[in-house]
């Protein structure tokens, strides 16, 4: 396989071909392979938080984000936890790196630990917006955002209060905003498509 030149060793074409083959196997050729992820946002209203005289932040909701490959839902990994008060985030803890690849598709699902209160619904709406921004940065498409029926309208109302608008049924889709929220209730029943007007303000 090897030949020697008067100037020293050279890689033969065979070795070069082998190197290219190795690189193509080891490189993220998977980038062309789109993976589907389940991203779960679990909401919970915390008890006995900031209990002191004059406290203005004693209603706190927490949202934990977990993600797993759709083909392997049992191996969910905790990504982050965010704490909210009155729909606004007050703290965040990152628990792992976000391993979702560029261009992967996401199925976001909101769930509640117990019957959700107002705090949790507001927090969920904000969390969906943050998730959308993160997904946009990585060119991830969020196919659906599944929301429990009991909180569907409250979360939708909160998104609209934050500047999202409902896409009319006959609207020209090309004029729709870049950030879309395809809401779907579970058990299946209600669907709603919202978009956030970008560029010139909501």
């Amino acid at each position: 396989m090897f030949t020697r030149s008067k100037n020293g060793k050279k890689l033969m074409p065979g070795m070069a071909l082998l190197a290219v083959a190795l690189i193509s196997i080891l490189s993220p050729a998977r980038a062309s392979e789109q993976r589907a992820w389940d991203v779960k946002l679990q909401t919970e209203e915390l008890q006995r938080q900031f209990v002191y005289r004059g406290s203005t932040i004693n209603a706190v909701a927490k949202i934990k984000t977990k993600f797993a490959l759709s083909t392997n839902p049992d191996e969910a990994k905790e990504y982050e936890a965010v704490w909210y008060h009155d729909g606004k985030p007050i703290g965040m803890e990152k628990l792992a790196e976000f391993n979702i690849g560029r261009g992967d598709i996401l199925y976001v699902k909101v769930s509640h630990k117990k019957s959700p209160g107002e705090e949790e619904c507001k927090a969920a709406a904000f969390s969906l917006m943050r998730m959308s921004l993160s997904a946009y940065h990585k060119a991830n498409s969020i196919i659906t955002m599944t929301i429990p029926t009991e909180s569907f309208s409250r979360i939708s109302n909160e998104l609209q209060a934050r500047g999202c608008k409902e896409i009319p049924q006959k609207a020209d889709q090309s004029n729709a905003g870049q950030v879309r929220f395809n809401l779907e209730s579970e058990p299946e029943g209600m669907r709603q498509h919202l978009f956030f007007v970008t560029g010139q303000g909501s």
Binding site: Y52, I90, K94
Partner: protein, 307 residues
């Protein structure tokens, strides 16, 4: 013969009786003297025992009063929760700023989408700082009130007058709250923000203990913790508070008074210290007295784990 014997016996008998009377008289004196000595010794003994008892009791009272104040400081884990949330708010602002800057650079059309997310994070930092100051002030006020109340309850049980001792009501010499030296914050280092992690180590925000699992943020930094870049104007302050160890919360406990240091201005205190003085007199007839001093200190309940 009989007569000689009788008189001889009579002589012997009278000399023995005389000697016996003399011995009885000596015993009486000796007994009286001994009794007196024993009585005096008992009085002195009682006095010392009483002093010892009162001194111990005064120390116990000082500890009790300090503990009553210390328990109030981190009541319902308000300081622990605040510390945890302040540290997490800092992460939130940093993450939001990263998202916003990247959005502005790569997707300028989305700037009006990302900006409110950053603004709300920064607003939350301001809100938490206000609440943190409220908690600090409230903790101090409630602790001092609790200590004074406890003192008022205790002092009425002291005054007494006994034949060998007189005890007055104790007086409050000093009452203060502070922090325990060498105790940092209860917040374990938050990770997964590469540049921020490095920044925190470089700025000395993290206590670098030998065991990596116990890397805590330093408490009571004079200028608090800051963020690099445009969010440098925000201040994130953590108070000193014992962290949970192996999921065990440190109980409020009595400690050595010399371990209590003043808390850095603007931070919540986590320890209480009280000094008492008590006038005591002892003795019968001649009086001798003095003043007993006692100092008690206690540390507040440690933080719980973040929910």
């Amino acid at each position: 013969m009989k007569t000689k014997t009788t008189s001889g016996n009579r002589q012997n008998h009278s000399s023995r009786a005389a000697s016996s009377r003399q011995r009885t008289g000596n015993i009486l004196v000796v007994t009286c003297v001994t009794f007196a000595v024993i009585s005096v010794a008992m009085i002195i003994g009682y006095s010392f025992a009483g002093l010892y008892f009162v001194n111990n009791r005064l120390q116990t009272s000082a500890d009790e009063i300090a503990l009553a104040g210390a328990k109030k400081l981190n009541d319902r884990d308000r300081i622990g929760q605040m510390n945890n949330m302040v540290a997490r708010c800092r992460q939130l602002v940093y993450s939001s700023r990263q998202d916003y800057e990247e959005t502005k650079k790569v997707f300028p059309d989305l700037e009006n989408f990302a900006e409110p997310l950053l603004t709300e994070a920064r607003d939350s930092a301001g809100l938490l700082e206000k609440e943190r100051q409220r908690v600090s002030s409230l903790a101090e006020t409630e602790a001092m009130t609790a200590m004074r109340q406890r003192f008022d309850d205790v002092k009425t049980t002291y005054a007494m007058t006994l034949p060998w001792m007189k005890v007055d009501e104790p007086q409050l010499r000093d009452l203060k709250v502070g922090r325990v030296d060498d105790v940092e914050s209860n917040v374990e280092e938050l990770k997964h923000f590469g540049d921020l992690d490095k920044n925190d180590v470089a700025q000395g925000y993290v206590l670098d203990l030998q065991a990596p699992a116990m890397r805590l943020y330093k408490g009571e930094l004079p200028d608090g913790m800051r963020l690099p870049g445009d969010d440098n104007d925000l201040v994130f302050k953590l108070s000193s508070l014992p962290a949970p160890v192996d999921n065990t919360i440190a109980p409020a406990r009595v400690m050595l008074p010399n371990r209590v240091e003043p808390a850095t201005a603007g931070n919540a205190p986590s320890a209480a210290r009280v000094s008492l003085r008590l006038k005591v007199e002892t003795g019968l007839g001649f009086s001798s007295g003095g003043v007993l001093h006692s100092t008690g200190a206690a540390s507040t309940t440690g933080a719980c784990l973040q929910q």
